[in-house]
Symmetry: C2
Subunit: 570 residues, 2 copies
């Protein structure tokens, strides 16, 4: 294609509204424009790049026997009411009424619609397994759209759904997706980490996220470079650091002491002269209308996700309000503890407190704490892992150090189990003519997220450095002077030869200074530049690698073949 | 692909809810399923066919230098308010509010959003011309969704938009689209007619529709087989049939006569013994709050579209209400006429009345008519073409007979003019540094409409007969007995050879009776079937043409090559 004919509205300056790199570069390089908060138009370059990403996704989904479909974006309320998610999705769901005043919504995901198709058509075990997918536009009314294409209200996803007769089938479908996702991200040139994750509003038993490390991300994961362990922070486990001071010995009785004005762990540590690790932290949580006391080592934090899992919460747990705490404990946060509870409630103590003795905690009386409190003796908690992994923690099995990394999620796979097939009445007959409920999985990839994550990973001060497989063009042929007859015709010949060798090339036929052309090509991230300039007189052109910045001189006649070879298309 | 692994839920019976053939067959052949009124899921086969249609569209759009983008479906109200169409679109537009209570709508078309991008980025005449397109999902809250994919509430369109410095540029962009559309429909195998059309809510000066003849359609067009003339019924012109009786001679004065209870043209014709062609029909229309009297020959009908054009109506004209008529004329419909109007108003007489003399019309007094009324003498009308062509009319220039044909619209192109660039403030600097307003065009193709129209055109009692270019598969290899080792391995070899020759083939590996396999292949409309059966013993297989039903015997080793050759891929 000819650059002069294309609509590539590059910008000189970083737009003020963009904070993260991918957002800045997507705007500066003329890839996208915002229409409204979290709603973007994909211009020519972004769409071309995303089409390449979608083609890779299609090929890998087809390779695992998945069948492509296309489902509606507009859904009748009924299917979401059947699954129970009409309520659960809350303000995140765009809702509307049609001219007959019937409730509709815009699809955030398609478990409900896919299951409604399946229950209408699947009758027999012979029709299983099935994997159905689509590449389709989703809508989510985000509370805080931001970071360009990373957190948006309208976006393109590949979503797929598996239907199997039993758990072994689901395991196989899940494993196929896991491997297909690895191939997709590999082919897109992403460095990614697959982590164990929790299922959230999807329900289900097992889940992995595919994460790309990036400061622009909003998800934290825990990784161990030594063992390869990786998990979402909400789900990760670790061996905590040892307490900083030994527990006092002996079978001591709890003893109240005055701690005037000392409410935080740090204040009590300072006051007592003992480290935070000698304290028990008391957090009051409410889940499904029930109140729970959660106990953690003073320096540890609660994982609300683990807590929700331990108590089997259906809804999202929340910290108790101050009035609820005062009413239940007769004291305020900062003076709470598990001894002498006014009202019976479940007390969940983190595993890091198991075996500890004679610790400090609140006395359930403002401005008083207790010392010499021993879990399992002075009170009887349930022990469970409810702790969020902290920087510096160690791998559970090997003791190798863990790191916490900020990431962008590019894919997510779920074993849904029976949640949707059960609630929506999907049944088939098995080999014995008995009705059985198929088991489902659900699998998503964000197309715009892949592009954004790639930019976050690969860029420099001059622009994007896109992997060739997803760059809008693989190569640009740049004549330094379009008005020079010899340069122009050499550039045209190289460009034509690139095309005939299957290289997706762009010819920068603009009547611009070379500096402008180089800058623009760097900005939009084209992997290879073939510069036709002064060296042409000596029969040579220059091939520049966008990534390494290295240039090599090659004979004119070799240029196209050279680039084709670099792309494995020799 | 292997049929046994695919989700192709064919039905034995025609679904009761489907009236038109394409709807029946799309359901029966397992192509689509309805999720809600006018909202369909495209299952595997429909999506595969539509992907082929989209690929043809892409290739032809790229060939005219159009650049693909992808714009949002969710639009902020503001851009539609700027163009004035937030109101105009009325109940057809899906509207919603986001979590901040801001007004949004679902895009019915993208003139507004495209123009908002253009005005943000286009600065100079050097950036023109531009043609931008997308293949995207549109939403329209139809009052009467019906006929399967022909009238739906969510659908996929290719829409494109041209921006030019002046009318010559627009003419060129329009012509490019016209030709590209012809190539697209030709490649899709459609028989179509390009007709002059009116622009409706789009605005603009020139417009063509691409129509496929079908009883399932809701648009009427006028065609002349002899001359090739073709136009939308609302826009078509013709030479009317001559009056059935000569007008009385002489300079006669209007004369009132009693016509008790005679209101319709037919009743007055019977009463007077003179044919309907001797009468003037009076219709009262209201456009933009103004009242107009329209006069037509007794047997002719008004084209509201032509009338709107003649008076330059901004909004949609409507017939006057009975009370409005009584108040303005002092008489009721059925006794109205142009002589002795109580209130001044514009009188538009159809061209077929020009030169007529001494005709009959209402007297503006109930139960009375006038005879001997001569337009241009007894009253002074404006003459204009406001008549809808009728069956039996003749071509204006040659007098050849015209036909009225029911059709489905598959494409529509518009010269928009300055409507959107003007109202939304799109300006560029011309060569002299002066601000000018670019001129626009807008061009649409319905992807699902192409599939439906093809089915309407090409089917028989057994199912679809899809053109090879848009059939989900080009060929099916059908072993009559999957358990027969020799038959199976021959079928597998032919199938593999089809694939290696670039034939998009399906292998019917199901353990079903041959009759079931043949019926299903016929139903889903695969152009070529290679049947591997008894003749294999003699080294032969049968190739059947879905369209002609003709079968030919070919040697096993020739089968794949034979089909490839039929598809021009030898």
């Amino acid at each position: 294609m000819l650059w002069s004919k294309l609509f590539i509205p590059t910008l000189r300056e970083n737009p003020a509204e963009a904070e993260v790199v991918s957002h800045q570069l997507l705007l500066r390089a003329g890839y996208v424009r915002q229409l409204s908060s979290g709603i973007y138009s994909y211009l020519f370059l972004a769409h071309r790049s995303m089409r390449k990403i979608m083609q890779i996704i299609r090929e890998e989904m087809d390779a695992i026997g998945a069948q492509e479909m296309l489902l509606p974006a507009l859904h009748p309320a009924e299917v979401w009411q059947e699954s129970g998610r009409w309520e659960v999705m809350g303000a995140n769901m765009f809702r509307l009424k049609d001219r007959w005043n019937r409730d509709l919504c815009l699809g955030m995901t398609h478990e409900e619609v896919m299951t409604s198709i399946a229950r209408g058509e699947l009758r027999s075990y012979k029709q299983l397994p099935q994997i159905w997918y689509q590449i389709q536009t989703k809508f989510r009314d985000e509370a805080r759209p931001k970071s360009g294409l990373l957190r948006v209200r309208e976006f393109i996803m590949k979503d797929s759904y598996s239907f199997d007769l039993g758990p072994e089938g689901l395991d196989a479908a899940y494993q196929k997706h896991y491997e297909a996702y690895c191939r997709i991200f590999d082919r897109c040139g992403l460095k990614y980490i697959a982590v164990e994750a929790h299922s959230g509003s999807m329900g289900g038993s097992q889940s992995h996220e595919f994460m790309v490390a990036s400061d622009a991300g909003e998800d934290y994961i825990v990784v161990c470079e030594a063992t390869g362990y990786a998990a979402n922070l909400e789900k990760a486990v670790s061996r905590p650091t040892p307490p900083l001071a030994p527990d006092p010995d002996g079978d001591l009785a709890p003893e109240k002491f005055h701690t005037p004005g000392r409410k935080t762990i740090a204040e009590v540590a300072e006051f007592t002269g003992l480290p935070e690790t000698s304290q028990m932290k008391s957090l009051v949580m409410v889940a499904d209308g029930q109140m729970y006391l959660c106990l953690l080592r003073g320096d540890h934090n609660l994982s609300e996700t683990k807590f929700a899992g331990v108590v089997g919460a259906a809804g999202e747990p929340r910290p108790a309000h101050p009035e609820e705490i005062r009413e239940a404990f007769g004291a305020d946060a900062g003076s709470l503890g598990p001894v002498g509870l006014k009202r019976p409630m479940r007390v969940i103590a983190d595993l890091a407190l198991q075996g500890r003795r004679n610790m400090i905690c609140g006395a359930n009386e403002n401005d008083y704490h207790l010392r010499h409190v021993t879990p399992g003796e002075d009170f009887q908690p349930e022990f469970a892992d409810i702790r969020q992994v902290a920087e510096g923690d160690l791998d559970v099995e090997t003791g190798a150090p863990l790191k916490i990394v900020k990431t962008v999620e590019v894919g997510h796979i779920f074993k849904l189990g029976y949640k949707y097939s059960e609630s929506m009445g999907l049944r088939v007959l098995d080999e014995n003519g008995q009705e059985v409920t198929p088991i489902m999985g659900s699998y998503g990839i964000g197309v715009g997220r892949i592009l954004s994550a790639a930019i976050e990973l690969y860029h420099d001060a001059d622009g994007m450095i896109l992997p060739p497989a997803i760059a809008p063009f693989e190569a640009v042929v740049t004549p330094v002077n379009w008005k020079d007859e010899a340069i122009r015709s050499a550039a045209e010949r190289i460009y034509e030869e690139c095309k005939s060798r299957g290289v997706d090339a762009l010819l920068d036929d603009r009547d611009e200074r070379p500096g402008v052309k180089f800058k623009d090509a760097d900005l939009i991230g084209i992997p290879w530049r073939i510069t036709v300039g002064k060296k042409l007189a000596a029969g040579a052109v220059e091939i520049t690698d966008r990534s390494s910045r290295e240039s090599t001189e090659v004979p004119v006649a070799e240029a196209a073949r050279n680039v084709a070879a670099k792309l494995g298309r020799a």
